[in-house]
């Protein structure tokens, strides 16, 4: 039996603007408009606009909401913000995982603290139901409710250096909104009834939750609005950003940008295996020594037990833009098969010069370097390989040489101060 695919409120806009539409989870989504390559480059150099209304949003609230999340979510809510490991305060959000008792990833997530007893949990497309059921099962007598808001909300991500100027044109009091809005924090609320709704409004009064976060590695915002406002807000942003080169972007650019930023795709780079020994140790509540966890949580015992023998997920970058089909591809070290390929895409904004990777945005990029893109992604192998190790990845059609790296696209802007972009 096939089920009807869902559409976001922007589906007709995407169709009218020439988007190639693909099935993604339960949704029909734009994979690119005119050019995935140009969309990727726009986010690195100017800005891109993404319809992310397919992402699922849960409201987790009640006296024991903190307690439930502290048990089910991998970050220690008492110690997870900034270098000093401050508690998750009102208006902060944090990236982490929901694991099962085996330490396998159910999904990854951003958890927002709205206020005491009130959290917003952002998970992947089609995962609202499964994560909501998981949380309800784990609640076990706790005083907490979980409500799936997905179909009531629209979500739009604006990413890239020009996103700041674009939003400044549209917000009431942008200097107040942008003040003390570091990476992984949020202001405002999409619900006009919320006491926070006055914090962030567009010039026409539309309230929104504005989160300084994203999935591209570049500076920008994730906007949550009431579903009925989605198309209007999207069109306002597109119009305001036109002078800065703002480009509507599809899922292909989102995938290549996030890989260049060394961010995992749930159910592809993390999934049904112990969620440890990977490029994302920050998703777990390691203690300062990195030898144990600062709290007990669902899956922590399994991870502590499994870690020594668990597979290693590593980042790689190739020597040119040629890639392979990750599905069913294998990894070889000196001719011996050692693992599988999880993700393999091309980051169009980077190139190699004398062994070093530069981005179009690198301030010290050699003048004669022609950036054509580099293949990059993640492999899962039996044991740790040192950065710089050359391996071969191979699909049914071709084999390519790649290098184990700790980072992919340099000079990313996500963490820079917003005033830098005004």
């Amino acid at each position: 039996m096939t089920t009807a695919k869902k559409q976001t409120p922007l589906f007709d806009w995407h169709k009218a603007h020439g988007a190639n539409i693909v099935e993604f989870g339960d949704y029909l989504m734009p994979v690119w408009y005119a050019s995935a390559r140009n969309e990727h480059l726009a986010v690195v150099s100017q800005a891109g606009l993404f319809d992310t209304s397919h992402m699922a949003t849960l409201r987790v609230f009640g006296k024991d909401a903190y307690d439930l999340l502290q048990w089910c979510f991998t970050r220690n809510l008492d110690a997870c913000v900034g270098k000093d490991n401050a508690p998750l305060a009102d208006g902060k959000c944090v990236y982490g995982l929901f694991l099962d008792e085996h330490g396998h990833a159910i999904d990854d997530s951003l958890v927002y603290k709205i206020k005491d007893g009130e959290y917003m949990v952002e998970v992947n497309a089609s995962m609202g139901g499964p994560v909501a059921r998981h949380l309800a099962e784990q609640a076990k007598g706790r005083d907490v409710k979980v409500v799936d808001l997905t179909d009531k909300l629209g979500k739009i991500d604006i990413q890239g250096p020009a996103s700041v100027k674009t939003m400044a044109k549209l917000l009431k009091n942008p200097e107040v909104v942008f003040d003390k809005l570091p990476y992984f924090s949020a202001k405002g609320h999409f619900d006009p009834e919320s006491t926070l709704a006055g914090q962030v409004q567009l010039l026409d009064g539309t309230p929104l939750l504005l989160s300084r976060s994203g999935y591209t590695g570049e500076v920008g915002f994730e906007l949550f609005v009431e579903r009925a406002q989605t198309v209007k807000v999207w069109e306002m942003i597109m119009a305001a950003g036109q002078e800065f080169g703002l480009t509507a972007c599809g899922l292909a650019a989102r995938d290549s940008l996030r890989t260049g930023a060394v961010l995992p795709l749930s159910h592809q780079d993390i999934g049904h295996w112990p969620c440890i020994n990977n490029p994302w140790p920050f998703a777990l509540p390691f203690n300062a020594a990195g030898a144990g966890f600062t709290k007990k949580f669902l899956g922590s015992e399994a991870l502590e037990k499994e870690a020594p023998g668990a597979a290693w997920t590593l980042t790689f970058v190739g020597h040119d833009l040629r890639k392979i089909e990750a599905h069913d591809a294998k990894v070889y070290l000196e001719g011996k098969e050692i693992g599988t390929v999880l993700t393999c895409v091309t980051d169009m904004a980077i190139g190699r010069h004398e062994g070093r990777i530069y981005s179009l945005a690198s301030p010290d990029k050699p003048a004669d370097l022609v950036v054509k893109g580099l293949c990059c992604g993640f492999i899962k192998v039996g044991s740790r390989l040192a950065p710089g190790t050359a391996v071969e990845i191979k699909d049914a059609k071709r084999a390519i040489q790649v290098v184990v790296e700790t980072d992919v696209r340099p000079a990313r802007t996500a963490r820079k101060a917003l005033k830098t972009f005004m």
Binding site: N20, V31, W32, S35, A36, R37, N38, A252, S256, D320, L321, R322, K323, I324, E325, T346, M348, K372, G373, K397, R398
Partner: protein, 128 residues
Amino acid sequence: MFPADCKYTKNHEFVKPLGDGTALVGITNYAQEALGDVVFVDLPEVGAKFAAGDEFGTVESVKTVSECYMPAAGEVVELNADLEAHPEYVNEDPVAKGWMIKIRLDGALNPELLDAAAYEAHVASESH
């Protein structure tokens, strides 16, 4: 929509006879639209000889890597040298700017190749 001076395969390659025993070979406008941005084109050497249906190269797009098959038998006499620096020519104009190889035709074209109208009908049936 598809040039009348080309013949087409069901696999979306074109062959454009130039009247002097040679022909241009590449992928169709329908193929480039389905692939999205072409970022790399891997071509054979000049002098390589192929039978109709042989794989002669690959075209890499943002989406995937696809093989290209010979629409006709022949020997490669020229490569489109522009494609190394400008693979996007395949997207911009797959026949005039984005042709891939020039071949010396070996015998007559296979009568099973589609003309423009038949190819257009084939494309219409595929997109259903």
